[in-house]
């Protein structure tokens, strides 16, 4: 199908992150055009385009914007979710490094559309290099009157604040993010009210992923039809696919939705050292894994759902035969345990329990019946936790058991490091091929 460089089109140019370079390629023209439209017209175009949220859930972006009440006399807020902390997800941060102005322009257009005069860009705290780039971009945009008061004489004012998170995965969950922004401990809020009605400071708020917003200027510039000419009916447009793991050239490949995974893997140079693919996850650790037999699956929301998984963040991680599934699952669960916010019982207690039992399997001393136990625990978390983090934590194990039950059984007898020597599986390993 071919790559479709839009956001990544100019990443290889010197100072791609600079406003000058961005403007060389029609940067901020979309903003100028938008300001000549009514906010509702802007929402209309985005709705038409079928753009879906890139933060994981795939919610239609235009529809989300249209939920914000109008003329309610309250301030509105736009919040950018750039907390990217999902294991395997690495697309927003490179985007902000290489092309921060696409985000800033997207923010300005979206804020105009939802009638917000304040936008916040919430960036994960561990990436100061990306934070600096975005802050710089915001400053440059202010300097040219693309942000601030009366932008381009349109009468539209917008202030943009770059806010740094303190390193909690849960603060990527949109309502926890809002609490965190307000200076509280980041824990998800009870819904309703939804952010569109009472979000930041109890005012109507839209939370969008960074990639989602960065995709908006191109839609305004080229039109909804152009966007829909890529991808499928239910998954239109292009997407940053961040391919990682045991591949030759891990990195970001921007392609139309619907591009088969096999093609993305080819872009990434195929599996490292010619080893065979063992399993892969299409979009972050929170979605169930797939096997080589699924490698030709089109990367769309609907096809992946049909295969029992999800597109998620669209960041496939590829694992070769040297990888212990047991260990991979155990690591993911460690992550969820560490990142569980503690608010609700199933996630707080369940992740603690599962990791404790999985550790036994890593050491080869798990008991057969404990596999059922872990499965039960996952069942007791899934669909019963307060937020999606709990559901995510309940995902890897059942997913792995579906295809690799025997490996867990082996781990009742043999430590995984014996079955799968870790030195072989390291990304930069030169230890012989299995």
């Amino acid at each position: 199908m071919g790559l479709t460089p839009v956001l990544t089109a100019h990443w290889d140019e010197p100072k791609s992150f600079d406003i000058e370079n961005y403007q060389k390629h029609a940067g901020y023209v979309a903003l100028t055009n938008s300001l000549k439209m009514t906010p509702d017209e802007v929402i209309g175009v985005v709705k038409d385009s079928g753009l879906r949220g890139r933060g994981g859930a795939g919610f239609p972006t235009g529809l989300k914007w249209s939920f914000v009440p109008q003329n309610d006399g309250k301030p509105h807020y736009l919040v950018v979710n750039a907390d990217e902390s999902e294991p395997g997800a690495c697309k927003d941060i490179p985007l902000m490094l290489a092309n921060p102005h696409s985000l800033v322009e997207g923010v300005a257009i979206a804020a105009y559309a939802i009638r917000a005069n304040h936008a916040f860009i919430y960036i994960r705290g561990e990436v100061p290099h990306a934070i600096r780039r975005v802050m710089n971009a915001v400053e440059q945009a202010y300097a040219q009157g693309l942000l601030g008061k009366n932008i381009k004489n349109s009468g539209f004012d917008l202030d943009v604040v770059v806010h740094t998170g303190a390193g909690a995965y849960i603060c990527g969950e949109e309502t926890a993010l809002l609490d965190s922004l307000e200076g509280r401990r980041g824990q998800p809020r009870l819904k309703p009210p939804f952010p569109a009605v009472a979000g930041l400071y109890a005012s109507p708020t839209v939370v969008n992923n960074a990639e989602t917003l960065a995709s908006v200027p191109s839609i305004i510039l080229n039109g909804a039809d152009w966007f829909k000419s890529m991808g499928t009916e239910k998954s239109p447009g292009f997407k940053l696919f961040a391919v990682s793991g045991h591949v030759k050239r891990p990195g970001i490949y921007e392609a139309a939705l619907g591009t088969p995974m096999s093609e993305l893997l080819d872009y990434a140079g195929g599996m490292k050292q010619g080893r065979d693919l063992k399993f892969w996850i299409p979009g972050g650790s929170s979605v169930p894994m797939l096997t080589p037999e699924h490698i030709d699956i089109p990367m769309t929301y609907e096809d992946l759902a049909a295969a029992g998984t999800m597109l998620g963040t669209g960041t496939p991680m590829m694992f070769d035969k040297t990888t212990s599934v047991v260990k991979a699952v155990s690591r993911w669960l460690e992550f969820y345990k560490h990142e569980s916010c503690g608010k609700c019982t199933p996630c707080r207690e369940g992740t603690y329990w599962i990791t404790g039992v999985l550790e036994k399997f890593e050491h080869g001393v798990g008991k057969e019946h404990e596999l059922e136990l872990i499965n039960d625990i996952c069942g007791q978390i899934a669909g019963r936790s307060f937020c999606a983090l709990g559901d995510a934590a309940a995902t890897p194990f059942p997913g792995a058991m579906k295809y690799f039950a025997s490996e867990f059984e082996e781990a009742t007898r043999k430590p995984v490091d014996v079955s799968f020597p870790p030195e072989r599986t390291k990304i930069f390993s030169t230890v012989g091929v299995m």
Partner: protein, 793 residues
């Protein structure tokens, strides 16, 4: 007695129809599933849910199945909607499994503490584990442990491993009390309740968290490990510590009170009470008088038998006919105060009786007699909750009537109440009410009150301190009339309103009847079965006049009941008065500095050992029964009956039923009232730089007589500091951290100084804290002019 209007929410609420477990029902729109199920008789298990706290849906124990929703839903957070079909654990396997799963999770980390846990036996976790739990644990890995207990304050302890992280305690502290001293800290499995370094959980309402904690994670230092719930006998009682009128549950074991809890009363204290009411009952066991004492011919006090002591008392009083007075404290029950009121008139032939062992005035008596006593239409808690505008005068709700504070806070949070306080500064308590302060010097409240814009139908709450400010109560009544705003008098002590209704004042008979009114007298005389002439027609002496008369040798005998000299308007004069009177009878529960002056000292029952009634500030009767039955302690009324009998009078108040019958027979008088007070305010005269006006009030937790013997509670008192404005401090070369000495001709008090935003030329100090005892050290009152200087260490 005064009845309070019951303004139930009008029943115009929209109803919706929904189905739970196959049963169709109509409920008001907005009813949560968990509540509707409860009404139907189905208890959905829960931990984080609490009817008085906003839903959080955190514990996930209450999951139920809702038709059309793919996942089980928290019934504590979802209102029923039209046509909704819900299945609880009673009819849904999904709900049952979900609940069982959550229960299993909650138990994995729970210690097997039940045999030693305070909550064991009344523990929601225990109970719900029986209905929703497994019989055997599947958890075989290591439990999380924490050193235990963690001291959140000297009073509240936390066993973190017992905590189920339901956040009831933290939500209570933030939402209800406005004291977010405790918070959930850390995340995931490490999440725990905690405090900030060096900032203990010193909230006046901290004890409520122990009560609502659904497990034994929060315990009180005072009760921890002292008893098991199943060994306790519970009685519904009324708190004796203030005029809020909280309903309490008193739990005792073998004649000893072990603990007290808030008893839910939606009209009054809702689910809560304050820490004083909850924890301060050690006084019941401290310095208790159990034996009558009489002074023998050598002048020594010796133990006496009841009949002898009573006869001696009767003889002494008979001797003093006409030259006798009765001084009461503000903590008597309605019935006991009434007995004194009747005894003074019938047995002693005098109107010299006053319950106001605190700053008071003739103006106050007129205010009470004309606008408070017998008032059918007084303000209620519910009215406060629905009020738009409340004006506070000489009144600090959090310190002086904590349940009013909570109710005002509730109203403020609903967003419809504006509180305006006429006060010298914005206190922490007022801040929590989002109040606007009109910064006012003590003495100028009246001027300010009549100067500010008051919306019609506001509510004015005026504290008992107003009596110390000449003219204030007169102005307040005028303003209340002019603005058609109700005014309510907020006494501090539990017995004041009852004593007022009982006629324990020199110008008032029971039921708000003026002594000077002939038909009022004859009504009372008829019920009492005495001749009209028995009740003197002239008003008697009030407290201060009694003290003065005694010092001048005009009184031969005094009855002093239920009071402590340290509370008196002037303790020094009070002592002089006692020394000057030949025959003194003291009647009380505890031994205090007065007892030793007594010719006859008679012990009476504390609240736990008798039945009675307190009338709270609303005018609402709060009757209570005897908690501890087997002691022989007598009520004041019983003791007075015995003395009367010895004087050959048919007093007829042996038992509580007699008292209550007589009181209801008297009812409330519909005739003339005392004159409205019309007293002039005093202008504050110009004064020198180092002179300031004294402002002071009681803090809820202080050195009060009924807080003795409770060190854990005492540990949560506020520290004693003095406040000055920056300008006044500067004028006196003082800065924050300095010691400041407040002095008058009587004595001095030295405290660390804090400079705050407040009215100039005023110093605020605590009324009765460890290092600041205004009455004992200065004999002063609010509004007095004091000297200040830099204090020496």
């Amino acid at each position: 007695m005064t009845l309070t209007s019951d303004n139930k929410a009008t029943n115009t609420q929209e109803l919706i129809t929904a189905t739970i477990d196959g049963i169709q029902m109509q409920v008001p729109k907005g009813t949560l599933i968990i509540r509707a199920a409860e009404k139907m008789g189905t208890f959905v298990p829960r931990f984080c849910d609490h009817p008085s706290l906003a839903p959080v849906a955190a514990c996930r124990m209450c999951l139920v199945e809702i038709e059309g929703m793919p996942k089980p839903q928290p019934s504590c957070a979802i209102p029923l909607t039209e046509g909704m079909v819900v299945k609880t654990q009673m009819t849904s396997k999904v709900a049952e499994d979900a609940q069982a799963g959550v229960m299993e999770f909650l138990l994995i980390n729970h210690p097997l503490d039940c045999p030693v846990c305070d909550k064991g036996g009344e523990c929601p976790l225990q109970n719900q584990a029986m209905t929703a739990g497994r019989t055997e644990s599947r958890f075989e890995i290591e439990k999380r442990t924490f050193p235990k207990p963690l001291e959140l304050s000297t009073e509240i302890l936390l066993d973190r491993e017992r905590c189920v992280e339901c956040a009831r305690c933290t939500r209570f502290s933030e939402e209800i009390a406005g004291d977010p001293f405790i918070e959930l800290l850390e995340r995931g499995a490490k999440q725990q309740v905690g405090i900030a370094t060096d900032e203990p959980f010193n909230s006046y309402f901290s004890g409520n968290t122990v009560q609502i904690c659904p497990v034994g994670a929060l315990t009180s230092s005072a009760y921890r490990f002292r008893s098991r719930p199943f060994d306790l006998v519970s009685v519904k009682t009324t708190c004796e510590h203030c005029a809020a009128g909280c309903s309490l549950r008193t739990d005792y074991r073998r004649e000893t009170v072990m603990r007290r809890l808030a008893w839910e009363d939606p009209e009054v204290n809702e689910d809560w009470n304050c820490d004083k009411g909850r924890f301060a009952f050690g006084y019941l066991k401290t310095n208790r008088l159990t034996q009558p004492k009489v002074r023998n011919l050598d002048g020594n006090q010796i133990d006496a038998l009841w009949p002898d002591a009573v006869d001696i008392a009767a003889a002494g009083l008979a001797n003093a006919q006409g030259k006798v007075a009765v001084l009461l404290g503000g903590r008597l029950t309605l019935e006991d105060a009434y007995a004194y009121s009747k005894f003074a008139r019938v047995a002693l032939g005098t109107n010299n009786i006053d319950f106001r062992n605190r700053d008071h005035s003739e103006e106050e008596q007129q205010f009470l007699g004309s606008a408070v006593a017998g008032n059918h239409n007084s303000v209620t808690y519910k009215e406060l909750e629905n009020a738009q505008n409340v004006i506070l005068v000489s009144f600090e709700p959090e310190e002086e009537s904590p349940i009013i504070f909570l109710r005002l806070r509730k109203a403020m949070q609903k967003g419809n109440l504006k509180v305006t306080a006429i006060a010298p500064y914005l206190s922490k308590g007022l801040e929590k009410l989002n109040a606007e302060v009109v910064a006012t010097k003590p003495g100028e409240e009246g001027k300010v009150l009549s100067g500010i814009d008051i919306v019609e139908n506001s509510i004015i709450l005026i504290g008992e301190r107003a009596a110390a400010i000449p003219g204030l109560l007169s102005v307040a009544l005028e303003v209340s009339n002019k603005t058609q705003s109700k005014i309510s008098w907020i006494p501090r002590r539990a017995g004041e309103r009852g004593a007022l209704e009982a006629g324990a004042l020199p110008a008032l008979l029971p039921g708000a009847r003026p002594v000077a009114d002939a038909s009022a007298r004859s009504e009372v005389a008829k019920v009492w079965g005495v001749s009209n002439s028995k009740i003197p027609s002239e008003p008697g002496l009030d407290h201060s006049q009694i003290i003065k008369a005694a010092i001048n040798g005009e009184l031969k005998a005094l009855i002093i009941a239920g009071l402590d000299v340290l509370d008196a308007p002037d303790p020094k004069l009070f002592s002089e008065a006692i020394n000057a009177v030949d025959f003194v009878i003291t009647i009380g529960v505890q031994e205090n500095s007065l007892t030793r002056y007594a010719n006859v000292s008679l012990p009476v029952a504390p609240v736990t050992e008798k039945s009675g009634t307190f009338i709270n500030w609303e005018g609402r009767p709060r009757p209570f029964g005897k908690a501890i039955g087997s002691t022989n302690a007598l009520t004041d009324a019983r003791v007075l009956s015995m003395i009367a009998e010895s004087m050959d009078l048919d007093f007829g108040l042996q038992i509580i039923e007699d008292l209550r019958m007589e009181l209801s027979e008297l009812g409330i008088w519909n005739g003339s009232k005392l004159e409205k007070p019309q007293f002039e305010s005093k202008e504050i005269v110009d004064f020198k730089n180092d002179n300031v006006i004294l402002s002071t009030w009681h803090q809820l937790l202080d050195e009060g007589a009924m807080q003795v013997g409770e060190e854990h509670l005492a540990g949560t008192q506020k520290s004693s500091v003095a406040y000055l404005s920056e300008e006044t401090a500067k004028q006196n070369n003082l800065t924050t951290g300095d010691l400041v000495t407040v002095l008058n001709t009587r004595g001095s008090i030295t405290l660390p100084l804090e400079i705050i935003e407040m009215v100039n030329k005023v110093i605020w100090i605590p009324f009765n804290s460890k290092d600041s005892k205004v009455k004992q050290s200065l004999g002063a009152k609010e509004g007095d002019i004091m000297l200040i200087e830099k204090g020496k260490v």
